[in-house]
Amino acid sequence: MKHRTFFWFILPTLSAMILFIALPIVSVFVQSLFVAHEQVLVVSESCGPFGCTPTTSVDLEATEKLREEAPLGRFNGLGTYFNRSHLAIAEIGEAWANSDSLGTFWTQIYNLPFYNALIFTLTYTFVVTPAVLVLGLAIAVGVNNLPRALKGPSIFVSLLPFLVTPLVGSLILFWMVDGDGVIGATIQKIFNDPSLSLKASTALTWIMLIVYGIWHTLPFSFITFYAGLQTVPDDTLEAAQIDGASKWQTMIHVVVPHLMPLVSFVTLMLIMDNLRVFEPIVSFSAEAHARSLSWVIFNDLRESGNPLYASAGATSLLTIIIVIFLMMPVLVRTWRDFTRKSH
C-alpha cells in the first residue's frame, strides 16, 4: 500500500488516538508539574485607640485573578512526585533510619498513600492472574469433557460474570456478602458472631476483592483455553495414550505445552485489566481497607470543589510508568517476532 493511501486510511483512527490518548498523557505530565496557587494574603494595619495591630486577610479578588490568569497553578517542578503522597523519598529515608526492624519499616511504608495503593494493586494483580490462569484451564478441560449438549449452556452461563461491568457485578456480590445478605448472614451464623463483617477487617476486604476479581475474569481465561483445546491435534493425544500416558500425564506433557502461546496472551490481557482495578472498590465501599492506584487518582479528582490535578497527574504518570514496565517483556517479544518475520 502506498504511503499516501495508507495515510488517508489511518488518519481518523490515528488522530483520535493522538488527540485523546497521547496528548492527555502529555497534559497529565504538564499538570503534575504545577500546584494550586496559594491564596494571596494582604497584611493591613488596623489601628484602634490602643495602638495598631497587623492583621492578615485573604485578598479574594487577587486570588481569583491569579487563578484566572494561570489556571494550571504555579510551577512546582517535580516537587509533587517526591512529596509524601507520592514517592515520599524523604519519608522513606526517615523510616529507614528510624526503624529497628524490617517489620516496622514495612509498616511505615505501608502507611504512605502511594505505596499503600501500589501494594494493593500489585497484590491483587499477582494473586488474581495466576489463580485465574490455573482455574480457567481446569474449567476448560472440564467443559471440554462434557457431553456436547451441555457445552453451549455452560459457556453461556460462564459469560455473564465477565461481560457485566465490574461496578454492577461487584454490587451484586456485595449485596450477598453484606452483613444482611445471604452469604454474610450465613457466615455470621456459622461463626456465631453477629458483628462479623467482611468489610471490617483489612484481610477480609482484600480476600473479598480478590475473590471478586477471580469471579469476574475467570470466564475470559476459561473461554480462551477452551478454544485452544479444540486445536489440540488428536494424533498427538492418541500417541501419548498408546505410549501409556495417564490422563494426568497427557494433560501436563501434551495439552499444557500446546496451550503455552495462549497462556502468554491471556496473562498479558489479565495483567492489563487487573492493574486498573477500581470499580469493585467503589461498589464494595472498601476504600477504608483497600485502595488501588486508579482509586487514588479518582479520589484526587473527586475532591469536592477543589480537585487535586497535580496529585492526580503525578499518580497517573507513575501508574503509566509501572504499566509500561510490567508490559516490557511482552513488548520486547512482539518486537523480536516482528523483526524475525520481516528479515
Binding site: 489511518i10 483520535a16 490518548i21 497521547a22 498523557i25 445471604v182 470466564p219 473461554i223 480462551t224 509500561i324
Partner: protein, 293 residues
C-alpha cells in the same frame, strides 16, 4: 468416536465434573438471586433473620399482599427517572459503536495491507494505549475540557470513548483483515479500481462478520463504561452505570436499596439478551488473535 476407555468414569473425571458444576453455580447463582430478590421488598432481599425470606417473600406478602412486587422497578424507572439514564446510554452507545467501527475498519484495513515498519509501530503504540488505565487518561482531560467549556455533554464523552476504544478495535480488525486474502482487493486494483474503490466494492461486502464481532465489544465497552462517564458527564447527562453508583449513595440513606437492585437488574438484562443471541461471536471475538497466533 469415544472409546470405552475414554467414556469410563475415573476419579479425575468425576472431580473435573464437580469442579465445572461448582463454577457454573458460582457464576450463575448471584444473578439468579439478585433477579429473584428484585421482586421483593428490602426486608426480604437483605434478610438477616432468615435467608428463606428472600425466596418466599414473607415480608413482601405482609407489606404488599403478594409474593412478588414490581415496586422497586417502579421506583427506579419512574421516581428516580432511570429511563432518562438509559436514553443517555443509548445515545452514547449508538454513536460510539458507529464511529469507532468506521474509524477502525479504515485503520485496521490499512494496517493489515501495509508491510511498512511504521504500521508495526502504530500497532505497538495501540497495544500500550490499550494497557493505560482509563482513569489516568481522564485526569488529563478534565482541565482542558473545563477550559474549552465542553465538559459534561454527551458528544465529548462519545468521542473520548471512541478514542479509548480504538486500540482494541484496530487490533481486532487488523487480525481479521489479515485473514481476507490479499488477492481479492489486488485483483480489483489490477482491473483499474483505486485502493479506496477496491476497499469499498470488494472488502466491504465480505467484512461484516468481523465488524459485527468487533462491534459487540465496542458496544460492551461503551455500555459498561463507568470511569469516563462518571468523570466527564454532568448529572443531567448521566449514563446508567454512574447513575447506579449515585443511587447507591442516596438510596442507602433513604432505605431504598431496592431501587438500586432494580436498576442493576435492568442493566444486566440487555447483556443477557446479547449473550443469548451473539454467544458464538463473543466467544470468537474473545479468542481472536490468540488462537490464530
Amino acid at each position: 468416536m469415544a472409546t470405552k476407555a475414554q467414556s469410563r468414569m475415573t476419579p479425575l473425571k468425576l472431580f473435573s465434573y464437580t469442579f465445572v458444576a461448582l463454577w457454573l453455580i458460582i457464576a450463575a447463582f448471584p444473578f439468579f438471586w439478585t433477579f429473584w430478590g428484585s421482586f421483593k421488598v428490602q426486608a426480604d432481599f437483605l434478610s438477616k433473620a432468615d435467608w428463606r425470606n428472600a425466596l418466599y417473600g414473607a415480608n413482601t406478602i405482609a407489606q404488599t399482599g403478594s409474593a412478588f412486587t414490581a415496586e422497586a422497578y417502579r421506583g427506579a424507572w419512574i421516581d428516580e427517572e432511570f429511563w432518562f439514564n438509559f436514553k443517555n446510554t443509548g445515545i452514547v452507545v449508538f454513536f460510539t459503536v458507529v464511529i469507532s467501527l468506521t474509524f477502525g475498519t479504515l485503520g485496521g484495513y490499512a494496517l493489515a495491507r501495509s508491510g511498512f515498519r511504521y504500521a508495526f509501530w502504530i500497532l505497538m503504540a495501540a497495544l500500550v494505549f490499550r494497557a493505560m488505565p482509563h482513569i489516568t487518561l481522564v485526569s488529563g482531560y478534565l482541565l482542558p475540557f473545563f477550559e474549552w467549556n465542553v465538559w459534561g455533554i454527551l458528544p465529548t464523552t462519545i468521542i473520548v470513548l471512541v478514542a479509548i476504544n480504538q486500540p482494541f478495535t484496530l487490533w481486532m480488525l487488523h487480525s481479521f483483515f489479515k485473514n481476507i486474502p490479499k488477492d481479492m482487493d489486488e485483483s480489483a486494483m489490477v482491473d483499474g479500481c483505486t485502493r479506496f474503490q477496491a476497499f469499498r466494492y470488494v472488502i466491504v461486502p465480505v467484512m461484516w462478520p468481523g465488524v459485527i464481532t468487533t462491534g459487540l465489544f465496542s458496544f460492551l465497552l461503551a455500555y459498561n463504561d463507568f470511569t469516563v462517564a462518571a468523570m466527564l458527564l454532568s448529572e443531567e447527562n448521566e449514563t446508567i452505570i454512574p447513575a447506579i453508583n449515585s443511587f447507591m449513595g442516596t438510596t442507602q440513606v433513604e432505605g431504598k436499596v431496592m431501587y438500586a437492585v432494580a436498576a442493576v437488574v435492568s442493566t444486566v438484562a440487555p447483556l443477557f439478551v446479547l449473550i443469548l443471541f451473539f454467544q458464538r461471536q463473543i466467544v470468537s471475538g474473545l479468542t481472536a488473535g490468540a488462537v490464530k497466533g
